[in-house]
Symmetry: C2
DNA sequence: CAGTATCCAACCTGATACTG
DNA sequence: CAGTATCAGGTTGGATACTG
């Protein structure tokens, strides 16, 4: 099915002040750095987790990135970090309410992805076919 | 104010199938590639735009990245690309409904960022102070 | 266990030059 | 105008080794 032509302007919703834009842009860049969302998910799903456990739940993350991601999230107030003064060390991470809220905010994207999953796959396949058959620039 | 301790598990909402996870993860990575969201915003706000115009509305993007971003979005079905067979070339980009919906889905994150803007700044400041005063590893 | 430190390869990106 | 092609710099991320 062809897409309907649209030339009308449509607002995305909230007002778009320039500096809020910059903040949101930064937030989104950080938050969507590939690991943050997965850590949020892991913590939301399993509750409090220790350092290594977070890595296991997330899966496929290097220790370096796990550390970096958790530090970042701690700095931003998305997780709390609790050190139990025992030997060997025992460090617990937990989502803050703010972190949990962010996870919920991302649900919209989750739902979108679920809804358009098939459409995306189809679009990619068609694009691939077009690209194979056609030159990028059509000389009339 | 201190964060309340929470060890309970809380679902983020939709079910979490492994491959949907992967898709969402990929989507988020793409969408947060720094330019995609801004292009969506530009097109949502201004309607159909020509190649150069998109770049102007987005601001600060190189031609290379603009091309790459638009190609990607076209492949995923987020935008349509219409070539008018005239000289000089005239190429129009427009958001698809799917693309527009993605923009709306991200509004949740936008709103979150707006809501917690201050809290994030405060958290970062405090974290900075803690980091300056304390060693990373506390030896009991 | 929970990190830190270092090295290195891959990738991303901008600048520049060229084309239909 | 709307790209493509190439090159160079910076950043990112993984692997590895080491520490309190």
């Amino acid at each position: 099915m062809a897409q309907k032509k649209r030339t009308t302007k449509r607002s995305l919703g909230p007002e778009t002040s320039p500096e809020l834009d910059a903040l949101v842009r930064e937030i989104i860049e950080r938050v969507a750095d590939k690991w943050t969302m997965l850590v949020i998910e892991a913590l939301a799903e399993h509750g409090t987790l220790r350092f290594t456990a977070v890595g296991e739940k997330v899966g496929g993350i290097s220790q370096k990135m796990l550390t970096k991601t958790l530090r970042q999230m701690e700095a931003d107030g998305l997780v709390t970090r609790t050190v139990l003064p025992v030997i060997p060390p025992h460090v617990e991470y937990d989502l803050t309410d703010m972190g949990f809220e962010l996870g919920k905010a991302f649900c919209g994207v989750w739902i979108w992805a679920e809804k358009y999953q098939k459409a995306i796959a189809k679009s990619r396949a068609e694009f691939g076919r077009r690209a194979a058959a056609m030159p990028r620039v059509r000389a009339l």
